[in-house]
Symmetry: C3
Subunit: 115 residues, 3 copies
């Protein structure tokens, strides 16, 4: 079964297709000079872009995993999350606490979608 | 490829089908006035219910991710886990420490199954 | 849809096939008397072995999740990771901090591949 990778360099591919599924990498914000809601908006916009590279979109997400460095940041994530979902096509989701690649990163999200 | 969601409201769907796979949300216990083994029993019963909504069951689980707020709780999780699996149809599994949505939650589990 | 399990005993299967996909368990090193780079080399060799049991290999990995007990260990993971990938067939990847089953374990990795 063939595998298609997009924006593949360094240690990872941004998004990978195979078996009818699309997996994004754990996406973190480029601009870390924002609160968690702003960072989450940026991450979700980047996930939209990554899914488009693989020919799919947020209406086809099966599952999302969200990591925040302090669990109390979940409320701020959800503000941006709810704007983004509009309450529709809601994925299965888990949100847990984990320290991330650098202390200024307040959210990381990875999703699995179908094409 | 179509996506089917069950118990979809608020921020997430309880279970989502697509591409021949079934993803549950991270499931936490409703009754948190129990030790970790009791909480895990409740979570696994809820996973049974979620999988049934999607027309599958625990014999078809491919992978499980388990989060506990302190890694020493793993032993108490495994008591309920072993009762539930009966040593059969064992998923691939990862169990790691992560603080969860509230301090009284002692376990969260998400699974991926086939239909 | 049928599910095939390999090295299935105790609490988990090492690797499970279903729906055209292959999921490994979270793999930890047997020899913990090594630094994180050595431990990661062992884990990746074990992932190679697990994928072979399921009739696939590292060129077909879609996604990898990496847990380290302190996020600063990520650099040491990446030394072994880069040796192993050779910069080719890069998976989507997330690497987050999580305490693992015992304090001497410095890395745990789970992957999803196609057959």
């Amino acid at each position: 079964m063939s595998v298609v990778r997009h924006e593949s360099h360094g240690i990872l591919s941004k998004v990978v297709e195979g078996g009818g599924l699309v997996f994004t990498a754990g996406v973190t914000p480029d601009n870390r000079d924002q609160d968690v809601t702003g960072q989450t908006r940026d991450v979700l916009a980047e996930i939209d872009r990554a899914l488009a590279l693989a020919g799919t979109d947020k209406s086809k997400i099966l599952s999302a995993t969200i990591w925040v460095p302090e669990i109390r940041l979940r409320d701020g994530v959800n503000v941006a999350w709810n704007e983004w979902t509009g309450g529709e096509n809601l994925p299965a989701r888990a949100c847990v606490e984990a320290r991330l690649a650098s202390p200024e990163i307040l959210v990381e999200i990875a999703v699995v979608a179908v094409k």
